[in-house]
């Protein structure tokens, strides 16, 4: 089985990894880099639990081959907090009670962060659209949508 040597940035850290051709980004993050915050919910691009940012864009990491990430800048849920300070979306989802079992939370937070990066003042419909690929079975979504609204406001106040 051919191994490919790739270099990339994950959560701000330079990484070098040898990956088989068919290894997904999700597998590489979890099995090679021990970043298990990113979850495997369906391995078919349908549930959003494995969402990470690749060069700023939210993607299902189970649908991306690791070799495609040569030179990429990847951000996972572990990379959201900076110096122990939670990202506004992390703090807001706690404040709004948008976490229950927590399994969809990492993917949900990454989708929300990617949205706020490209659209700092999203409408409710923008938020719904950005999170539509992230399935949650516990919360009913309302508190999560409210959390993203709050995060957008906090972020604006900070900047």
């Amino acid at each position: 089985m051919a191994l490919h040597h790739i270099t990339l940035t994950v959560n701000g850290e330079f990484e070098q990894v040898d990956v088989p051709s068919q290894m997904t980004l999700l597998q590489m993050l979890r099995d090679k880099l021990a970043l298990t915050g990113t979850k495997n919910g369906c391995n078919a691009g349908e549930c959003g639990a494995c969402t990470v940012m690749v060069d700023g864009e939210a993607v299902n990491s189970c649908m991306v081959l690791a070799v495609e990430c040569q030179g990429a800048n990847v951000v996972t849920v572990e990379g959201l907090a900076k110096d122990g300070v939670l990202d506004p979306v992390q703090q807001a989802i706690i404040n709004h009670g948008g976490v229950q079992c927590g399994f969809c939370t990492p993917g949900m937070l990454i989708s929300a962060r990617a949205l706020l990066n490209r659209n700092p003042e999203p409408s409710e419909d923008d938020i719904r659209a950005a999170l539509v690929g992230n399935l949650c079975r516990c919360t009913g979504y309302v508190r999560i949508i409210e959390a993203v609204q709050e995060a957008a406001k906090r972020q604006k106040a900070l900047n």
Binding site: R30, A34, L35, T36, G37, T38, K39, N40, G41, C42, N43, A44, E46, C47, A49, T76, V77, E78, L80, A81, L86, Q90, I93, I94, G97, V99, Q100, C101, G102, F103, C104, T105, P106, L109, E124, I127, R128, A129, L131, V132, G133, N134, L135, C136, R137, C138, T139, G140, Y141, V142, R143, I144, I145, E146
Partner: protein
């Protein structure tokens, strides 16, 4: 301080919406779930050979090619595992031995050095089958014409409150005979008869099932897994393998959603069986999402026939129910859903004459198991639509009709049990007011129709009569507190509730309390299962008792050291204080090391460890013929939901515009978390109302993916979901609390169906109320003309 004090004097932080104790680790990606645990390079991977037939005899299994594949470490079949398993009825083997009963039934298991090799080995296992006629409808399955799927039913071990009928496919027949239904019909001013077919659905937690098992040379089993029920798993796996419970250790980290499908034992036993042939090496089995859809527990399908009548004043006089539960291939757990729907079959109403026959029927469908609501959403879906029809038949407002009939404290229930105080009528009034009941609102567009619907519910914890809980409360050097429980946090917040209760009963700040994780049957105190919405109540009682025990130990110690009376002492904010001498001392000085006696006379005390347990002692058996007995259940949680919907005449699409839930939770320990349960349950209920159905064709599931089995997303939910907490205290609940986790999805389908009727005047029938189904129903009714072309 007792946990049953009136609501006016509850100690801090009971009733405070404190932040979840697990919130931070979950948002930073640090919370460990089963799939995240690391086992090193020795880890093996298991895959399962499954039956492609819904019903067949196994003629021959040849594993030789699989055994020979490089990288394969073990291949196992049912031959090595004669023991049986099952929670209420032991009707399953770990692997099939002579017969398969559903598509997906496990026939053999493989352990290999990689998942890919294990999968390849599974393909190499040859199984010869003799297909048999299948049973795909529970009503047919209950007849004498149906092939008998479990010829050994009469030999299976069964709990004494389950009544199988050997020689048939009926694994439980629960009866209610209250009053005289036949005599009551003639006194009725109106009678409604309606049948409903409820489809199978899936729990679909976002986290699939994972189990890692290791069996050492002495036969000791260690199991790590996605578990709502580590202790039940320990018990049932020990029974199935014929080993001691003390030789099974189940370790259960955070669970990424359960909803019932991770209760009892299912795929975990497969991992243990495979690992028993790879001594010392852990074996990991992870269900694919596809397997999750049809090999994990499903919510049973149901066919329900309702007949109910009332007098001209709207008083319910009689109800007659026949429920046929599609229990699937094994009904070890489903038999008790059948029972629960029987003893609650009047719905939340005072009905003098009730006759119910609830049948659990074996079919060649996926295995039915517990799902949020445990039979109640299925039953209430039909029952609460019939209530609306009956109100309409006597031209009475449906809210008024429910007000007249809803169950009150002191009523004699269908089982003969006396109802405890309940806030159902308050829930009804508050939900109706919140949805502006009776006020018609114009639709948002000319091609839309708008309507409102309401439905009531009740549900009791369905469990063994003596299902129990225990807890430990230990103090640390710095006075902080470690609470150990055996109940799981599956997202509902039970760890936070445990922390709040311990803080309140002991007298320490909430941020001094830690909950010991992960659950581990070797170190965590016993808990029956994380099911039945019973933890806040049952585990809560145990936690409060353990904290009070620790408190008592501390106060006795300080009283002795200070030569004071216990009555004059208190623990406030982590300090022992004396109201008499006004002395004060922090717990951090005394929790481990004790206190010195005066004049250097030595020491007293030692590490403080509080213990508590709780077991309901008062639940009685019910007569097999009549379902009558003094106390059928521990209690009922009651509630009401109301919705406003819009139906698109051009597409049939139903949009839920807003929802209201009002539930009597006894006492909300953490009001925001209670509301989060009400919202989440409402949306899950809405999802089942509009989208969800496992499409089974001759036993083969047609839609095992999120693309074909759609659940609600952010695009479907209304932002306006109001949650109303009603608090009529539970006499034996901690600070009066009872559970609410499941209840919030019980009335939702009926409320939406009633709202659809209000909008378009059509009873669509079986859920889900998909756009297609609603559109075709409108065409059939002549409400819209089918588009041409």
């Amino acid at each position: 301080m007792t946990p049953n004090q009136p609501a006016t004097s509850v100690p801090h932080p009971i009733g405070d919406s404190v932040t979840r104790v697990d919130a931070k680790e979950k948002v930073i990606g640090a919370a460990l779930f089963s799939d995240d645990l690391q086992f090193g390079p020795g880890l093996l991977y298991a895959r399962i050979k499954r039956s492609p037939h819904p019903h067949a005899l196994i003629k021959r299994i040849d594993t030789s090619k699989a055994q020979a594949l490089p990288g394969v470490k073990a291949v196992v079949t049912g031959e090595s595992f004669p023991g049986m398993t099952g929670l209420y009825l032991q009707d399953r083997h770990i692997f099939c031995r002579d017969r398969v009963r559903y598509v997906g039934d496990p026939v053999a298991g493989v352990a290999a050095v990689s998942e890919a090799i294990a999968e390849q080995a599974v393909e190499l296992i040859e199984v010869e089958y003799e297909p048999l006629q299948g049973v795909f409808d529970p009503e047919f399955g209950a007849t004498s014409e149906a092939p008998v799927l479990h010829p050994d039913l009469g030999k299976y071990k069964v709990q004494n409150f389950i009544f199988p009928k050997p020689g048939t496919n009926i694994s439980n027949h629960f009866r209610i005979r209250k009053g005289d239904v036949d005599a009551a019909w003639s006194q009725c001013a109106a009678i409604v008869e309606h049948s409903y077919r409820i489809p199978h659905i899936q729990h679909v937690p976002i986290e699939p099932h994972v189990a890692v098992a290791k069996v050492d040379e002495n036969g000791k089993v260690t199991l790590w897994g996605t578990s709502q029920s580590p202790f039940a798993q320990r018990n049932l796996i020990a029974i199935a393998l014929g080993i001691s419970q003390s030789d099974v250790e189940v370790i259960a980290p955070y669970v990424g959603g359960g909803f019932g499908c991770k209760a009892g034992v299912s795929m975990e036993a497969l991992a243990v069986a495979v690992a028993s042939k790879t001594k010392g090496k852990p074996v990991k089995l992870r269900l694919t999402r596809e397997e999750e859809f049809y090999t994990a527990f499903v919510r049973q399908g149901m066919v329900a026939h309702f007949k109910m009548g009332c007098d001209a004043q709207g008083r319910l006089l009689a109800m007659q129910n026949r429920f046929y539960w599609d229990g699937g291939a094994y009904t070890e757990y489903g038999v008790n859903i059948t029972r629960a729907s029987g003893y609650s079959s009047s719905g939340p109403y005072d009905v003098p004459n009730v006759k119910t026959d609830s049948f659990c029927v074996y079919t060649n469908h996926p295995v039915g198991g517990p799902m949020r609501g445990f039979g109640m959403p299925e039953m209430h879906t039909g029952l609460e639509q019939c209530i609306d029809e009956l109100a309409l038949a006597i031209e009475m407002d449906p809210v008024q009709f429910r007000r007249i009939n809803c169950v009150q404290g002191g009523d004699t229930l269908v089982t003969g049990m006396t109802m405890h105080p309940t806030g159902l009528s308050e829930c009804l009034d508050k939900a109706a007011k919140a949805i502006d009941w009776g006020r018609k609102v114009a639709p948002s567009a000319p091609n839309k129709r708008r309507g409102k619907g309401i439905a009531a519910m009740w549900k009791a914890p369905a469990m063994s009569p003596n299902a129990s809980s225990s807890a430990k409360v230990a103090l640390n050097e710095d006075g902080t507190v470690t609470v150990s429980v055996g109940g799981q946090d599956i997202g509902q917040g039970s760890f936070t509730i445990a922390a709040q209760m311990a803080a309140a009963a002991l007298g320490v700040p909430i941020d001094w309390v830690r909950v010991a994780t992960p659950l581990d049957t070797n170190y965590s105190p016993y808990e029956w299962q994380t099911v039945a919405s019973r933890l806040t109540w049952s585990m809560g009682n145990a936690v409060a008792a353990a904290a009070r025990d620790a408190r008592q130990q501390i106060l006795e110690l300080v009283a002795k050291a200070w030569n004071e009376k216990i009555e004059d002492l208190d623990i406030v904010d982590g300090n022992v204080i004396s109201y008499k001498s006004e002395e004060t001392i922090s717990l951090k000085n005394i929790a481990i090391y004790g206190l010195p006696l005066p004049n250097d006379q030595g020491w007293i005390g030692g590490p403080v460890l509080g213990r508590g347990n709780f077991m309901p002692t008062y639940v009685t058996g019910l007569n097999a013929e009549t379902g009558q007995g003094p106390r059928a259940v521990v209690h009922y949680t009651t509630g009401v939901q109301a919705v406003e919907v819009e139906v698109d005449l051009d597409t049939g699409k139903v949009q839920v515009l807003r929802g209201v839930g009002a539930f009597d939770v006894g006492k909300a320990i953490n009001p925001e978390m209670v509301k989060a349960q009400m919202e989440g349950g409402f949306v899950q209920g809405m999802s089942t109302a509009l989208f969800e159905s496992l499409q089974l064709k001759e036993g083969v599931l047609q839609n095992p993916s999120f693309v074909d089995y759609r659940i609600a997303t952010t695009s479907d939910v209304p932002m306006d979901i109001q949650s109303i907490i009603v608090e009529v205290p539970q006499d034996d609940g901690p600070w009066g609390a009872r559970g609410v986790g499941e209840h919030s999805m019980v009335p939702t389908v009926a409320a939406i169906a009633n709202a659809i009727y209000d909008a378009i005047g059509i009873r669509v029938g079986a859920p889900p109320y998909s756009a297609e189904k609603v559109y075709l129903a409108m065409v059939d009714a002549g409400l819209v003309k089918e588009m041409e072309g």
